[in-house]
Structures are given as structure tokens and as C-alpha cells.
């Protein structure tokens, strides 16, 4: 390796990622030699304000891309599905599309519509999951419980169609493995209507409820220019006004045959993200209802040989969190030469770092959850305060309690450590 270039001196004010495009490079070296533990986020504070954030991902790095080179094409699909439990189906669709592009075969129309239906149901479940988590981190556990209860409605539908709640494993190369069961159309449309009503109700709640407004308005701002330069994807691009959605920009599956419009917002704060995801939920429910009514007849899959012709192809899809990208290269054999997958959270980390700068410690969990990362990211964070020279580590739950106590000090006196509101006594009735 060639000699490393000299590092220019470090600046004390928030040295952002944006500084490079003009004059000199400003590096983020390790702040303190003692911070050697493999934490997920290292936050440098001045008093209460965050000055720098050092990301450390890799806690879920398992070596899938290397392993994919020694497994058959079809087995890789089920492995890449398990990259993420929340958006597993879109990973398998994107991988399938990257590989199908190497062959001459076309996916049948019915399979494309079925893929679209499950993709949108997955988007609904993911957004509901996220809204519930935002409620939990903001200290509004009732919202958490109610939203996740509604989430079970869409999980029941997914289970009825594919047989599983989380890893659907419904895809195969050039088609899907399971067909829509008989007489499901009315049930699906009825439940989509229910979910639309609930989404509108939750939209009201987040617009009027004091807890949510206090904790999410005016937090986590980023300019549209910054988001574009840092290649933000998904809701992180759309909440500052960019019309960036792969379903619209480069349609795949059946998205060019279903009429819909994407949702963008201009406010650019975490509250806008809440509204955006709930509105997207309504759009998804409409897409599912339309697709179910206009499901074309025909085969659901085409059998293709186990060897894929040589070549390279890539594909991108819109997961609930943003854009997913898959690249597949074949040397003509039964196993891939190279498969590359890029998850949306990685693309959004630079934007998230910019969002965090200038925020207070109490807002950190809200801002980090707003980018919709995986759970594990929130498990452990370490802090270093420049003023007092203190260093400490907190679990996500401890940080959450700190945030709640800061915003709602009267509640802090009443609450025991970390116990959630019990669901007993709220009287839930099973609707379906």
C-alpha cells in the first residue's frame, strides 16, 4: 500500500461531511484513545449538544456475499432474504430481478402482480412497526401497543397467502411459489380499508398528541441539498422534497401497471417523516386493493435451468426503508461469480450523521429511529463529553428513559425503571 496522506489539523466546530467539496479534507480521527470498544455509535458531546458522531456498523456483518459464491443461485435467494427480517421479501425480489435479467426469460404477469401485492403488504407492516417504535422511544407506549395490534391484521393476510409471517420465502427465480388462495379478494380489500382508516386515525394522533409533537417537531433537520449530495434514499430523501422513489423512477414488478403517486413532504423534520410514512401506508393499501382486483390470469412461474448464462446485471427496488441494490455476475455456472447487495440503511447513514449534529442528547433515540435502522443499532451507544471529560456507555433503553425524563419530568417521578404500560385493562377485542 502507498504511504498514507498527511492529515490536516482537526477543526473544533462541527466538521461536516459536506466540507470536502470545496477546499480541504477534514478528517474525523478517533476522539479519545480510550474509546476502543466496538460500539455502534460514538457520540461526542459539548454539554448537551452533539458535536460529532462516529458510526460503527458491522455488528451484523456475516459474510453473505462471500458465501453466495459457493451456493447455487436459488439457494442464495433464501439466504439473502434473511439479510433483514423486516424487509425480507424485497431482498428476494431484487435478487431475483438481478438474476432474471441475465436470462432470456420474462416473469409471468400474474407473478409480477403477486410480487407487488406482497411487497406492498410488507411496506405496510414495516411502516406500522416503525410508527410503533417511534411511539415507544418517545415515551408513548399506548401508541406502540395499538399500532402493533393493527400490524397483526396485515401479518395475518401475509400468512394466509404465503404461509409465514416474517420470511415469506414466496419467491423463486422467474416467478413465485404460491398462488393467491381462493376467495381472498374480498377479505383483502376489507382489511385494507380497515388499515386505511387506522392510518388516518394515527395521523390525527401524531398531529395533535402533545407527546409526539413535543418530541418530533423541529428535530432532525437536513437540507435537501445535503440529502442529495449524500445520496439519501427512501423516506430520507422524500421528507425534504425530493421525488426519489424507485417505484416511480424505474418501475419494476407491476408498478407500471398500477396507478399510484408517491408521497413527499417539505418540512424536513422527524414529524414530517411520521406523516410521510403514514400517508405511504394509505398509498400501499390502495395499490394492494387495485392489484387484487386486477390480478391477471396465467402461470405463476416459469421453470428455468439451474445454470444462468454469463453476464452482469443489476437491479434496484424500493424497500420500506429506501432503495435496495443488487448486482449479480455470472460466469455461466450453477453458482454466482459475484453478488453484491446494498441495504438502504447504509446509504442513509451519512445523512443520519448530519441529522444528529446539533441535536441534544435527549433527542438522539428519536433521530436515530427516524432513519428506520435495524434494532441492533440502538442497543448500545457510547458517549464522550468534551466539557467534563466524562466517558460513559448506555444501553438503548437507558437512553430512551433519559429522553423521556428530560421531556416529561413529572412522569419520571411516577415511572419505575423501564416498565412499560401493561396492556391489561385496555380492553382489546379481536376484530377479525
Amino acid at each position: 500500500m502507498s504511504a498514507q496522506p498527511e492529515k490536516p489539523p482537526r477543526r473544533e466546530e462541527s466538521a461536516g461531511l459536506m466540507e470536502y467539496s470545496t477546499e480541504s479534507l477534514v478528517p474525523f480521527g478517533p476522539i479519545h484513545p480510550a474509546l476502543k470498544e466496538p460500539e455502534y455509535f460514538k457520540l461526542v458531546l459539548e454539554g448537551e449538544r452533539i458535536v460529532e458522531v462516529i458510526p460503527r456498523v458491522g455488528y451484523v456483518h456475516r459474510g453473505l456475499e462471500k458465501a453466495s459464491e459457493s451456493r447455487p443461485w436459488i439457494q442464495n435467494m433464501y439466504m439473502f432474504e434473511r439479510t433483514c427480517g423486516i424487509c425480507s421479501f424485497v431482498h428476494s425480489v431484487c435478487y431475483a430481478q438481478a438474476v432474471e435479467g441475465l436470462t432470456m426469460f420474462q416473469v409471468p404477469a400474474r407473478a409480477r402482480f403477486l410480487r407487488t401485492i406482497i411487497l406492498e403488504m410488507e411496506r405496510i407492516h414495516s411502516h406500522l412497526l416503525w410508527v410503533g417504535l417511534m411511539g415507544h422511544w418517545a415515551g408513548f407506549d399506548t401508541l406502540f401497543m395499538w399500532v402493533w395490534n393493527d400490524r397483526e391484521v396485515v401479518l395475518d393476510l401475509v400468512e394466509a397467502i404465503s404461509g409465514n409471517r416474517v420470511h415469506k420465502s414466496m419467491n423463486t427465480l422467474c416467478g413465485v411459489r404460491k398462488d393467491m388462495p381462493e376467495n381472498m379478494e374480498d377479505r383483502i380489500i376489507e382489511r385494507m380499508k380497515y388499515l386505511t382508516d387506522r392510518a388516518r386515525y394515527y395521523r390525527d394522533v401524531i398531529d395533535t398528541e402533545e407527546t409526539m409533537l413535543a418530541r418530533t417537531e423541529d428535530i432532525g433537520r437536513v437540507t435537501a441539498d445535503t440529502a442529495e449530495k449524500l445520496c439519501a434514499v427512501g423516506p430520507m430523501a422524500r421528507y425534504v422534497g425530493m421525488r426519489r422513489d424507485v417505484r416511480l423512477n424505474d418501475p419494476y414488478a407491476a408498478y407500471d401497471e398500477v396507478p399510484f403517486d408517491i408521497v413527499t413532504r417539505n418540512e424536513g423534520d422527524v414529524h414530517a417523516l411520521l406523516r410521510l410514512r403514514l400517508d405511504e401506508l394509505v398509498v400501499s393499501a390502495n395499490i394492494v386493493s387495485y392489484a387484487v382486483k386486477h390480478l391477471p390470469d396465467g402461470p405463476i412461474r416459469i421453470k428455468i435451468p439451474p445454470t444462468i448464462p454469463a453476464g452482469e446485471h443489476s437491479s434496484h427496488c424500493e424497500a420500506p426503508r429506501g432503495e435496495i441494490f443488487y448486482f449479480a455476475k455470472s460466469a455461466g455456472g450453477r453458482t454466482p461469480e459475484r453478488v453484491k447487495s446494498r441495504q438502504p440503511t447504509l446509504a442513509n447513514i451519512p445523512t443520519a450523521l448530519e441529522m444528529l449534529k446539533g441535536q441534544t442528547l435527549a433527542d438522539v433515540p428519536i433521530v436515530l429511529t427516524a432513519i428506520d435502522p435495524c434494532f441492533g443499532c440502538m442497543d448500545r451507544m457510547s458517549f464522550f463529553d468534551i466539557d467534563s471529560n466524562k466517558k460513559w456507555t448506555w444501553s438503548g433503553e437507558q437512553l430512551r428513559q433519559y429522553g423521556i425524563n428530560k421531556y416529561f419530568p413529572e412522569r419520571a417521578k411516577r415511572q419505575l425503571h423501564g416498565q412499560k404500560f401493561s396492556s391489561a385493562g385496555l380492553g382489546f377485542k379481536e376484530k377479525f
Partner: protein, 160 residues
Amino acid sequence: MSELFPQQVGRYAEQAGSKLTTTHKNENVIEVTQEKLKEFLGHLVNDLSTRHLMTITGLDLGQNIQIIYNFSHERDTVHVKTNVPKTKPVALSIIDIVPGAILYEMEVHDMLGVYFTGNPWMDRKLLLPDEWPSDLPAPLLKTSRADEIRKRLDLGVAKQ
């Protein structure tokens, strides 16, 4: 505006001394040398408004390591390929043109051992564990073997 996007890309590709191949699925592939890379990307980002870098893919081609910059522009995708020799895997960083490339370059650095001159975070690991032995070659090279890495990382031998 009368020129189609692939034709515009083709023009800049010729200036950079290479040819453009467009596949039937709206993929535009250009191969450039390291010297012409930044000039070409500058045209792509500034003149053709192709600002969204989806990711940077690294491949092991045997003698060389290939770095592919995957851009997206509405219904088209542009893939800019460049090679660096394995004997001297040093490439130029593009974060002055596309600041969002910083983490993708860190990933290629971790996975294939390519050093990007100009990227301030080359001393850090993005995905590999901190316990990664410094003498162990990068994992995605064709010569690296998964079972050897597991033994060095102390993760137990895979029971067959």
C-alpha cells in the same frame, strides 16, 4: 434535450477515450482508466445531473480488482468501471464529486483491500470486526477462504 440520455453519456465516454455499451435493459456500461475517471464522473454528475450513486461494487478479476460505480438516472442506470492492479490496489476517492461515496469506498476497502486516496476514513473499518488480524487478506478476494477466516477469528469449524 433532443439527445437521449445514453447518447449524451456516449459522447462523454468518447472524450474519456472509451466506448459505451448499452444493454437492452437500460444499463449503460462504460470502462475508463483511473486517470480519466474523475473527469468523466465530473461530467456525469454536473453536466448530466446523474447525482444518485447507488453503490460502489468491487470485484476480483484475477490480475486486477475492478471497481464499478453504479449510478441511477430515472429509468437508466450508468455503470462506470475502472481497474486497479492487485499488486498496487490504490484508487482515487471521488468524495469531492459525490460526498455520499464515503461509506461505499470504506466497504470496498474492507472487502477487497483497495486504498482510496483522499478518503479520510481509510484508517477505520466499516464492516469487518476489530479483531480482524492484520495479516489476513481481504475476504472477498478469490484466494481468501471462508474456513480459514473462521479459524483465525475463532468462530468454530463448520460441522458438515
